[in-house]
Symmetry: C3
Subunit: 296 residues, 3 copies
Amino acid sequence: MSAPGPRAGSSGTLGRSGFSPLMMRTGSTGSVPGKEPCDTAGNSAVHGTGGVTVARLAPRRRYAREVALEAITPAPILPVWASYAAVAVGGVAGASHAARRGFDVIGVLGLAIATGLGGLLLRDVLLQKGTPVVLVDPRYLLSACLAALVGFFFAGLIVRLNRLLVGLDALAMGLMVGLGVSAAIWYQLGVAAAIFLGVTTAVGGSVLRDLLSGEPPSVMRPGIFSGLAALIGAVAFEGLFKLALPVFWVQVGTIATVFAVRILALWRGWETPTSVDVTDRLWDFWARRGQRGRSP
Amino acid sequence: MSAPGPRAGSSGTLGRSGFSPLMMRTGSTGSVPGKEPCDTAGNSAVHGTGGVTVARLAPRRRYAREVALEAITPAPILPVWASYAAVAVGGVAGASHAARRGFDVIGVLGLAIATGLGGLLLRDVLLQKGTPVVLVDPRYLLSACLAALVGFFFAGLIVRLNRLLVGLDALAMGLMVGLGVSAAIWYQLGVAAAIFLGVTTAVGGSVLRDLLSGEPPSVMRPGIFSGLAALIGAVAFEGLFKLALPVFWVQVGTIATVFAVRILALWRGWETPTSVDVTDRLWDFWARRGQRGRSP
Amino acid sequence: MSAPGPRAGSSGTLGRSGFSPLMMRTGSTGSVPGKEPCDTAGNSAVHGTGGVTVARLAPRRRYAREVALEAITPAPILPVWASYAAVAVGGVAGASHAARRGFDVIGVLGLAIATGLGGLLLRDVLLQKGTPVVLVDPRYLLSACLAALVGFFFAGLIVRLNRLLVGLDALAMGLMVGLGVSAAIWYQLGVAAAIFLGVTTAVGGSVLRDLLSGEPPSVMRPGIFSGLAALIGAVAFEGLFKLALPVFWVQVGTIATVFAVRILALWRGWETPTSVDVTDRLWDFWARRGQRGRSP
């Protein structure tokens, strides 16, 4: 069995969604028969980057594996074009960010690609399981380039559609969180690493955009609920997945959580909490307790 | 056939340069006989990083594979020392950048390595096909360190040779574009990913240099034709490669294109185009068309 | 023999510490019997990330391989909790860095993770030998998160313990240098790459912290002996390793070297050397020599 299955801890809980050992073998469908299976065969089949494997898979199936959970569950999942749309939304945000600052054509293109694809690129570079899917599947780069075109020529339109874009950005972030966490689960990483990768995938594009445009990453600064919303979403994905919900509903639940947190924070004017120094309070508490203990 | 061959789409066009299936097997020359070939065997042979493989290849052949096209074509290609020279040129630029800002010995060394090797490092990290060649082949790090020495002690010389360095930098960028695109072609990535990797390899060093010295990346800013020249060069490489020219001439053509664009832009004072907002114009156009359509 | 052994050049010198071919096979202990070993099997065993391999190794042994030298020497090495402690020390520094700047909860958490794990993450991403160990072993992320908690709530305590933290930071940097160099040696990279990786592992966290908080990386600036201390430590590790000392003493020697250099530099107020321009002096020297040669 060369295909890396789901995490040992959660394989039992997948039973309710019709999980069977048969499904586990989907990952190695592409391996050439009559050849001793290697550990990498399963991985490259998942990503569709293997030398021989690629040619034998129909294009549709090859890229659909991006949403890595498909292979471990027969339940319906979000279609792959949702990922392209999320990349395009991020790309438009990056391109208009560059256009507002008067960057040139390379700046607009670069920031569109960095903002749109940065999160997925960072996820795959950190996972180290073959060439990043955004380089293998040309539709990702195409989505980002189309977004760059829109940002280059239609800055006025983007300003007018600002409210729509804020909503779309919140939806896209929810999807990115899911793509990050599910890839970590697929490669059997632990809960902490899965949440870390979910947040990284969600905010990676915006961090890369800020770095490349020479500004301090806004996700680290207090104010907007973007990083915290991604963290809450990643925890929600892990929780819903542990509840053995069908993967489709885990994904939808994550997107709804991130969307709700971000829109509520905007509407109610919530601010993210900054650090509090409890050293003195704790010191006083212990000091008084010590005095009381001594005085009787 | 464990060796990843050239892209399926372009294998036919290579016929003119004497391409044969026999050449495709060159990639797996280093695999140990009597062992079932794994998918990784071909990859590690290309990079020369495999455990057993390395010891059996003569040093010269091991590093020559860096210019990855060698194995898929019998035509002459640019010698590998051209890559070392390009790294050294980038390294001198990075070191003098650091020396001008009064950085210390680590700053000069760090910026020389980042500027010289950053592009190739970024390419290999994004491709995820084994340890980056700049770490495997010690001559790359050596070239960058020598460049750091020159930048540390001969800042005055660099100022006097400024014109020469601008020309060498343009030549080095052309070579880097070629190394990026050809690696993407070798690993069967699509046209969009190949162009993306070509530009990334060419400008990666300068982006890393600016980030590490705490400045906004200059390649994103309007003005100099550096990113745009790399983009034009990457498109030229893809076009010439599709025309089935011998790889040597594809490389030379790319370098000439990048060099010509950059020198022409400097000489004529060209500025890169910044974004234009055509929303209102398009709005008016459609509005008038609608009126005309209604009025008759 | 699928396990990548130590560098060919230094395998002989390990004889004194009881090195035997038998030890070399430790790396592939986890490979499934009855299966043709692939090149990757050895790698995944080292990192403990292989699909089947992981389940068959007891947790203790699985993570202990992080200190990669364990498998090539029977000599005692530093325990793996030293790595967790080093990550926690870096994490506290990053978290208090964020808290001082008024960042929010995500900023404190992000900078704690970036500062604590950045070096090891960068090392594994550059080596490209499977998923980074800091993602596979959850205790690394846990250490960084605990450090973030301390930085979030006990900023006052950290200020009071400043002197202790400077010392701990110097010790942690020494350990990081060792982890970087030993991983490069384990994967048979050359001396230059090993020193480069040692320095990168040691200063990577601080560079990432500065980039994410929107400041120019302090390691490049003149003043503090941090990058230079790491460079001296990496050279010391290589030198002591070449002397065939037991690995435990190589590690301790490296930590002592880095600690001594940093504390001495603080105490004596040493400044790192900045670049000097010897062009004119060399010019004059040669010009005078030429005159003398002509005058007789």
